[in-house]
Amino acid sequence: MQKEDPTIIAFVCNWCTYTAADLAGVSRLNYPKNVRLIRVMCTGMVDTQYVIKAFLEGADMVWISGCHPGDCHYINGNYKARRKVKLLKEILPLFGVSPERLVLTWIGASDGIEFAQTIKQLTDIAREQGAEAGGAA
């Protein structure tokens, strides 16, 4: 089943991906409107429960994006985020949520173009995945 207008909940790091979003904006880059950005100080603070809540509320995809390895403003928050994403990618498929619906990327502050392209790709994947897995609450 194709879903025309998927919702992607994004947790983006203040220091890099959010800055990249800003850059994409001031550069007047176009990208699909499906992403709802939530700015966090570090991807390391994105608790597993935030991701779970997003899926239960009907998100089609959850996207976490932070600094490249070695660039974390708080030294190692992105590595911690990666472990949590690994954990969730093990848990969610047991309950029917495809691991492809949870995406972790590293997008640096100067990567405005990559930010816009990533959203295009994610939106395509979300459409392919079809209607949301969640919504049970």
């Binding site: 597993t48 429960q49 779970i52 809540k53 899926f55 239960l56 390895p69 190692n76 590595y79 911690k80 990666r82 472990r83 949590k84 994403v85 690994k86 954990l87 969730l88 990618k89 093990e90 848990i91 047991l94 309950f95 029917g96 949520v97 691991p99 492809e100 995406v103 972790l104 990327t105 590293w106 990533t118 790709q121 994610l122 994947i125 897995a133 969640g134 919504g135 049970a136 609450a137």
Partner: protein, 381 residues
Amino acid sequence: MKRTSHILVENNDPSAAIRRFLASLLALDSVDAVLTPRWLSEKTVMPALINDPDQLEQADPCSPAFMMNSAKLVSRLTRKTPGGKIVAVLRPCEIRAVKELVKLKQAETDGLILLGIDCPGALGNRDFQALAAEGTEGLGNRFLRGVIPDAPAEFEGRPISEACKACEFPVPDGADILIGLYGADLNEKLPVQSNTPSGNDLLDDISAPESEEPADRKAAVDKVTKARTARRDAMFEKTAEQVNNLDKFADYFANCVNCYNCRVACPVCYCRECVFNTNVFDHEPFRYLQWAKRRGGVRLPADTAFYHLTRLAHMSTACVGCGQCSNACPNDIPVMEVFRLTAHRTQAAFDYEAGRNIEEPPPLSVFSENEFTGIVGITKR
């Protein structure tokens, strides 16, 4: 250095032999108290911290009661130095939970001797209470004879708890001192083994005789482990099918009243203040109406699936499979099955096993630079 000894059984009474062994430890100057399950007024068996050897008469570590996971109690006794030495008589799952709590800085092993007994399993609380109401005479010995070594699915017509039936850890490998039941002649002698220097010291102090492991022990342990592992895998298969999408998951927990007893009973759920008890979940009243309008209806109490999924994410890597979550559920939801299913997968993902080794850090407390690179970026499987 491991040391093997034995306890002689007299009058065909292995429970009394274990009590005598505990009394011999308590008599040592170096031991101040024994934490052990013991009968309370012929009605039930609860853990007690015993200093008076006379009170050890009611101790019954082999009864089919498993009212709570005593790791939580060990945490209370040792979160600061207890000021003496405690011998804690625990089931294998309790020992593994203690190890998890030590890693989480909720307990200390200083002043603590972990004494493990081969686990015969247990009944659920309600089944145990019903059984005890019919008569408690020699129940510990009856239970041992009924379930060792074959690990049947029931005892005197009542089911062994689902967690115990599917538990592949019958032997308390992590104990300082281990008392064996599998492969032993319960009417003759029980093997005793020390696995650590502190366990060794205690066996030396009571002048425990040198002995050899019973020839049948390894085969008996393998047999029960295999039988229970087979049950576990069947349980995984059945449970996986029952929860394989979020609607089914919600349905699985349909009878949940958000009492959070499963969290209270969980030995490794250690937060002083759980997020689900904070005002994060005191939703503004208008939100309920919003949800009802958006979805046409909202299940109340709210956040049930959210609570269980979050607890799986937060705690499954520390799950020891004791089954107390199911035991504590007022509406008999098989919580343990989902927890074990998830824990099996999450622990494997980090090459971790809860309670295996006190030196292994909990998976979410550490990281390394070059791990899990395959999950980063937009990848299609």
